[in-house]
């Protein structure tokens, strides 16, 4: 009799917990989505509606043409091209250099491996923002002002450490026996790395790829400082020029922002299930 009672009580407790869990979960989701929903709503309001009091919750006229107008008003295609070329090149450069480095660190137990994490932290401390003046002078010195190359090199350099860190812990977690089996089968070290190890380390590669891509895609200060010609400005800088004008044209600003945000959110959402395992590997090792 008592056991049955206890069981019943326990089950009810769990359901109550589940309901409050679900509600709080959804509330959290809504809070973090809120500013972007407001962005979306504002982006389809007409200019007069934006400047009306009281503010409307939803647009009275859904002015989707804002998206076409901004596309014509700003060299948006140009900004978008810069963002894509720069972010993609920087990311590929990072992976090209980080994979061999991480492989070495992950496979060889050399002295000071634990100090490696600290080194990563130090390079993290050298964030581009805090070094903006040094970078600016460096870019002038190498005659890279107003080039894509400047951004590509800076973004690649500042994302290298993190990628090496994530990747090396992935490589370290792959048993050496798998690799040895490949060697016995006659594969060279490089072949074993390319055909056997990299496919297994794919979650790590994807995590490193996305992290670098997103940080390059969203970077603002360096691009603002060293790119003065619109032809070489990425989206973040190009769109902010709308704020500098006499009156902020919120509807266009947000339409443009969403064009920039949506692709990276989709990218990020695609790797969501690897995100936790990628970070786990990084934080355990």
């Amino acid at each position: 009799m008592t056991t049955i009672l206890v069981k019943k009580k326990k089950r009810r407790k769990i359901t109550g917990r589940k309901v409050s869990l679900t509600i709080s979960g959804w509330v959290i989701g809504l809070i973090f989505l809120g500013p972007y929903v407001e962005m979306m709503i504002t982006s389809v309001k007409s200019k007069s509606e934006i400047l009306s009091i009281p503010t409307t919750y939803l647009p009275q006229h859904w002015t989707w043409s804002n998206y076409i107008t901004i596309w014509k008003q700003l060299p948006l295609a140009q900004y978008l091209r810069t963002s894509i070329v720069v972010s993609l090149s920087a990311t590929l450069l990072v992976l090209l250099l980080a994979v061999p480095a991480a492989y070495y660190v992950g496979r060889n137990k050399f002295r000071g491996r634990s100090g490696f994490l600290l080194l990563v932290l130090v390079t993290q401390m050298f964030s581009p923002t805090s070094l903006v003046i040094g970078i600016f002078r460096e870019v002038i010195k190498f005659h890279l002002v107003n080039t894509w190359m400047a951004l590509i090199l800076v973004y690649a350099a500042f994302n290298m450490a993190f990628s090496i860190w994530i990747l090396s812990s992935f490589f370290a977690s792959i048993p050496i026996e798998i690799e040895e089996a490949a060697w016995i089968d006659g594969a060279s070290r490089l072949q074993a790395l390319l055909r056997v190890i990299l496919p297994i380390a794919l979650p790590g590669l994807i995590t490193a790829f996305i992290f670098t891509f997103i940080s390059a895609w969203n970077e603002f200060v360096i691009a603002l400082t060293i790119e003065s010609s619109p032809a070489h400005q990425p989206l973040t800088v190009g769109l902010e020029s709308l704020i500098g004008q006499y009156q902020v044209q919120w509807q266009y600003l947000f339409a443009g922002s969403l064009i920039a945000i949506v692709p990276v959110v989709i990218l990020f959402a695609l790797i969501e299930k690897w995100l936790v395992s990628g970070l786990t590997a990084g934080s355990v090792k």
């Binding site: 009306s52 050298f126 003046i133 040094g134 002078r137 997103i214 200060v221 704020i243 990020f268 395992s277």
Partner: protein, 269 residues
């Protein structure tokens, strides 16, 4: 590529550089001297410390329960996790712009909601006074920092095996006891990494302040990072700004070392 700008920056901090960027040789400590005589420096330094500590502390305090909730299973968890990713993936500049609009004193949606709920009678200029602006800057900084921190803690939670939790349940530990005595200590490595990365990011954070207040009115919401930028690109004094940035770097270094010492980094790794 990373170390050279650092070297160049420190070198610049000892040089006399005019508005056009031409160098007039070394001037010793004169840039640092000018900087120290800047009447705003002390308040900016104080604000930077308050800013960094408050944002990181609040972020962690909020992220811990959120991670716990998102670790448990409930209908729609996947969607909520996606929602949490958005502020992380979206550019901080754009997120700050959205907040700037939400907080707008005349047309902002927050005023509308509060009026609609009858909580306020008149519109509030959220970014009107220094204290309020600064508080909102902190809110936005926490908003953009929580997703990453939550995910780091989530990653930490997944490393704690179900068997450990089950064993403690069998032992009869209550929910809170279990959290305090078993889960929290096991989360330490993840939490430390999350906090250190946050410390660095928040300290160096530029876009939020720049977009929402440009450090104003005056210098009243500047941190050392935005002040350094202002000095170099508004006052066109590269040398002095480099001095500020060098001091800045020293501060973050002290911050991190202090933090690692307090948290006994070595013992946990």
């Amino acid at each position: 590529m990373v170390l050279y700008p650092a070297y160049e920056m420190i070198r610049t901090s000892f040089m006399n550089i005019d508005e056009t960027g031409t160098s007039h040789g070394f001037t010793g400590l004169s840039n640092y001297r000018t900087l120290i005589h800047n009447p705003n420096l002390i308040s900016v330094l104080e604000r930077t410390v308050i800013w960094t500590i408050t944002v990181v502390a609040v972020t962690v305090l909020i992220s811990l329960p959120i991670a716990q909730i998102l670790h448990a299973k409930f209908p729609g968890r996947r969607l909520v996790r996606y929602a949490l990713i958005v502020p992380w993936a979206a550019s901080v500049v754009m997120t700050s712009t959205s907040w700037l609009w939400i907080l707008n004193g005349y047309y902002g949606i927050l005023n509308r909601i509060l009026l609609g709920l009858g909580l306020i009678q008149d519109q509030i200029q959220f970014l009107g006074s220094q204290i309020q602006s600064f508080a909102w800057l902190i809110v936005v900084a926490v908003f953009v920092s929580v997703p990453f921190t939550t995910y780091v803690i989530l990653a930490g939670l997944t490393t704690i095996g179900e068997d450990i939790l089950e064993a403690s349940t069998v032992d009869g530990a209550s929910g809170w006891q279990r959290y305090k005595n078993i889960i929290f200590p096991l989360l330490r490595p993840a939490l430390l990494i999350g906090m250190v990365i946050n410390l660095i990011n928040v300290f160096n954070s530029f876009p939020i302040i720049w977009v929402m207040t440009t450090g104003g009115p005056g210098y009243s919401t500047d941190t050392t990072t935005t002040l350094a930028y202002k000095i170099s690109f508004r006052n066109a004094d590269m040398g002095q700004s480099a001095a500020m940035a060098t001091i800045n770097f020293g501060i973050i270094l002290i911050f991190i070392l202090f933090f690692l010492k307090v948290s006994r980094w070595r013992e946990s790794t």
